[in-house]
């Protein structure tokens, strides 16, 4: 119970001792999800690590890294893995449902509105403006993710990236086929590079 009184320092000792109830998990994830405009990750980190102290920052990063490199929506995977860690499979389902059900109801209501009023010119124009800005935001995320590759001068990484961009974005090949070729190729090249480096180091 020290976590109630202790200040914001987050060490392992600070982590809450009793796991939250299924109800608490559901509502905690619903809250993060509904405050998550443009991505839920930031809010999930704040709630799980800082607010509820269910995990240390390090555990959170490790769990997120796992979910990031498995297929599927990362934050949804995280909710499932995290909920199950605290409360078994029912906990995973509670977190999963909390994350998805409330915003899904909301977006379905928006979709119904769009169906009714989507033909109105001003609304369409407004939405078109939003989507232009959203594309710009996405571009800035891509730049930000690219900059470590550019700084390291990672030629192989940049070539793989460009190849995927051309195959998927310009040629519009099916994702499955591109990944079935690109993932083994990228793994092999990365493996060869690490192996060459360790050999030189000897």
């Amino acid at each position: 119970m020290t976590s109630e009184i202790a200040p914001a320092a987050s060490s392992a000792a600070d982590i809450a001792k009793t796991p939250p109830s299924l109800r608490t998990l559901f509502f905690a994830f619903a809250k993060m999800s509904l405050s998550g405009f443009g991505g839920v990750l930031v809010f999930a980190r704040r709630a799980i690590v800082d607010e509820h102290r269910w995990m240390t920052a390090e555990e959170f990063n490790e769990t997120f890294a796992l979910c990031h490199f498995l297929p599927g929506p990362n934050i949804v995977n995280l909710a499932m893995v995290f909920g199950a860690r605290l409360r078994g499979i029912p906990g995973g389902i509670a977190a999963f449902a909390g994350l998805l059900v409330p915003p899904m109801l909301l977006i379905t209501a928006l979709a119904a509105l769009y169906d009714r009023a989507g033909q109105a010119d001003t609304l369409r124009q407004g939405l078109a403006g939003v989507s232009c800005a959203a594309v710009g935001l996405l571009a800035s995320v891509v730049f930000r993710m690219m900059s470590p590759l550019l700084k390291k001068g990672d030629v192989v990484g940049l070539v793989v990236m460009a190849g995927v961009f051309v195959a998927i974005g310009l040629v519009r090949l099916p994702l499955q086929e591109v990944l079935l070729a690109a993932v083994p190729l990228s793994l092999a090249v990365t493996y060869a590079k690490t192996y060459a480096k360790t050999r030189w180091a000897r």
Binding site: S33, F37, G38, G39, E62, L66, C67, F69, P71, G72, P73, I75, V76, M80, V81, A84, R85, L99, L100, P103, M104, L106, I107, T108, A111, G126, L127, A128, G129, V130, S131, C132, A133, A134, V135, G136, L137, L138, A139, S140, V141, V142, F143, M145, M146, L149, G157, V164, F165, I168, G169, L170, P174, L175, L179, V183, S186, L187, V189, T190
Partner: protein
Amino acid sequence: MSGDDNPLFQLFWTFALISLFAVGGAVAAIPELHRVAVDVRHWMTDKQFADAFALSQLSPGPNVLIVALIGYSVAGVGGAAAATIAMCGPTAILSYVVSRWLANARDLRWPAMLQAALVPLSIGLMAASTWVLGVASDQTWRAFALTVMAAVVASLTRLNPLWLLAAGGCLGFAGLL
């Protein structure tokens, strides 16, 4: 599978299959969602897809909910639910299984090599998403200029992205694009 007439089954199989290949998260899967929904199945037009993306960015929650909008356009509320469950359920179960397996072999660190190999792939996929959505959204040079402005502002400042979306909406609403 594709011969099945029930749209809910069609939605379910389509999205479950896509999700298993959605390396790098929901946004990285957008080109494939667009290819399937617009080019292959003709569930939506290019413009409707861009609108769905805008709506999914405007409303709170995980970005993956764009699939709920695609599902809704095919089969209403049931379609939205089927698409969301298909896109999120199987991979969540997979994540659970892998996390259990890793927890049992604790000394086995999550290999940095896999990360190094997959990062360039997911950046390439996100760049492709930007391109596909840009082609659908930026029909005029003014629209394109707005996209470039938003990219520059978002890269150079820490402004809350919602303000940029709102500014874009206002410019569009005023008929300036």
